[in-house]
């Protein structure tokens, strides 16, 4: 690992992070140092804790143990440099709000408290929407957009924030192949501008085509590194194979026992 990628400058460093939902642990002792200016995929089976990893790193759900540093600092200190793109299903798309207003939310941090969204923010948001090819539907209510367009509105909101690290939760879920391609080329353009992107991804087939680095996850970190290093038969077997059932069973037993005793 060269000096540029050493921990203090790394966009995301996770140290010994354990996360539990309720009483059931869903991530065990994850240690990870992300390289910078790369397109990184988090891959693993359903329920492997992929989304949880991002959310816990951002502090959206509590960590039981461990810490996450962004650019060598706690998240609170560098919020504006980190953009989070939640799953599309996490919001109510009937909400009476336009694509432009959603994209402008990326600028709220710069606009500040008590002020209404100013012209600067609106222009930034519109530029971001144009960048993702939604310039002509900017004024539409978000419920009138297709699934792929909704996903791109979220992307535009992150772009409007102009961050250095982008954390995306399943941006390819339920979008058509064309949208997937256009999102990938946008992410690659971000990387070429020196940004880092970490994406929760569900499709093992396209990992080597889309991404530079990959992080294999199944309740614990199996392997992380460049795509060619990590995607070995042994690693994949460890991620998707049956050996993990014991760890899972232990988690469930722990939760069952504690709910009896408490």
């Amino acid at each position: 690992m060269n000096a540029e990628n050493s921990p203090p400058d790394s966009p995301l460093v996770i140290r010994d992070m354990t996360v539990a939902y309720g009483r059931k642990p869903v991530l065990w002792n994850v240690d990870y140092v992300s390289p910078s200016q790369k397109l990184i995929a988090i891959v693993g089976p359903n329920g492997a804790g992929k989304s949880t990893l991002l959310k816990a790193a951002l502090g959206l759900i509590p960590r039981q143990n461990g810490e996450a540093l962004f650019f060598g600092q706690p998240y609170q200190a560098v919020r504006q440099r980190v953009a989070y793109v939640p799953q599309r299903s996490s919001v109510d798309w009937d909400f009476p709000i336009s694509a432009l207003e959603v994209a402008a939310m990326g600028c709220y941090g710069r606009v500040g408290w008590f002020r209404s969204v100013n012209r600067d923010a609106k222009n930034t948001a519109l530029a971001a929407l144009e960048q993702v090819g939604l310039g002509d539907v900017a004024r539409r209510q978000i419920g009138q957009l297709s699934g792929g367009q909704q996903q791109r509105v979220f992307l535009a909101r992150a772009l409007a924030q102009d961050a250095d690290l982008y954390l995306m939760d399943e941006p390819f879920a339920a979008v058509d192949a064309t949208t997937e391609q256009s999102i990938v080329s946008m992410l690659q353009a971000l990387r070429d501008r020196g940004k880092t992107t970490i994406v929760v991804h569900h499709d093992l087939q396209t990992v080597s085509e889309y991404f530079d680095e990959v992080l294999l996850l199944n309740l614990r970190l199996i392997a992380a590194g460049t795509v060619s290093e990590v995607l070995t038969p042994q690693n994949l077997k460890a991620t998707y194979g049956g050996q993990l059932s014991i760890l899972d069973a232990v988690g469930q037993r722990m939760s069952a026992r504690q709910s009896v005793t408490s």
Binding site: G59, Q76, P96, I97, G109, W113, Q141
Partner: protein, 471 residues
Amino acid sequence: MSYNALLVLSGTMLLGASCGLMGVFLTLRRQVLLSDVISHAALPGVAMAFLLGLWLAPEKAGTLPWLVGGSMFASGVAVLICFALQQVKPLWGEAAFGIPLGGFLALGVVFFSIIQQVPSGNAAGLEGLLFGRAAALSSTDVLLLGGLAGIVVIVCLLLRKELLLIAFDREFAIAQGLPVALLDTLLTGMTAAICVLALPMVGFLLVVALMVTPAAAARFWSDRLGLMIPVSVVLGMVSAGLGTLISGQLEYVPTGPAIVLCATMFFAISVCFGSSHGFIYQWWSQRLLKQEQLLDDLLRSTYEEFEAATAKLQSATMAPAQTGHADLPQLALDNRLSGVHPLTVAPDEFWLNQAVCFPKSIPTKDLSLLKQLAVNRGYLRIDSAGQWRMTELGWQKAKAVVLRHRLLELYLIEHAEFPPAQGDRTADLLEHALGPHTVDELKILLRIDFGQGVIRSPHPLEATSVREVAP
């Protein structure tokens, strides 16, 4: 109208407006039941405050600040209990709210029964709080209620952006570093405050209606929060004002029901005529759209009548091979290469002098309306001899409509591999949705560039039967 009555009226209107505002956030956050809990918990709060007042300071027991304080306290406790219950596993959202609601209501009724037994209880005017009695308010009461409501409104408007964000996307709001828990508490607190402040006016049974109804009505007028908020505020304000006036005229009608009936009436109007989701509005705009489509169809059929008529004229002088439609895809290609339709080479003025034939494909019931519409738009005219003729404008429009249809048809046949007959039918359905922008795109895609002309139809035009020539 006396000064006091005017003050009461403006006070209730301000409270109505603030109810409309808070209602927008309540409905967006799907927390309507919360305001129900707040208002029902206010009942035992008021009763307790009254009893406590009798014991501590009898001369102040029935006064408004005392009662408002009591209901705020009880509502706060109820909300806290609700939120705590929400965290408990086997309970689901509605039960967590419904159970405290019932409990507090029952408690309130018990307290009220006790108050009825107390000598000064009947005279205290607590019944006003059941259904509201704005006329009973003194000017100091109104200033207190209105002032507090004003503060809430200002805070709410200042924090509009932040409150909107936590309502829309909580996770993103947390990630952005907003103090979500604090904002939640603030918003709930402000909702409780407005609820309680509106009690003397609307009564605790109906306060929810005044919060929810204007906001729900506003949703039928707009898909944009920027418009929804003012509409809801105005509806709340006007309902409150009207209701107060009505109840002022008919003294036996409490204020609350009068206000809520007005709000419900506005809701009914909005459901019908709202410019975004109102169903009569939608039906009407569908109808206008349909007429627009029929008008396009009329122009296109008329154009094609002309075309068929000329083809007959010309076929007498031309070789038969040139008029046949043997190989359709080949013909489509020919069209693109030859560009200008040979039949439109005749000067436009020639066609303007031909009598218009109305084809049978236009339904009889629509025909007279369509004729009227076409005349209003300046597409058709009746000349001095009573003959229907196209105007210059109508002719240009007809050419554009025909070109649009044929471009789409050609596109469907060449690019989407539709069989020619199906291409025509599908184009019939889709063509009305094409904007000028898409037409230009089609021209580029099909490599058709010939200025204003019209291309030949990719399929043979059947001679349609003509309905009538005279008007």
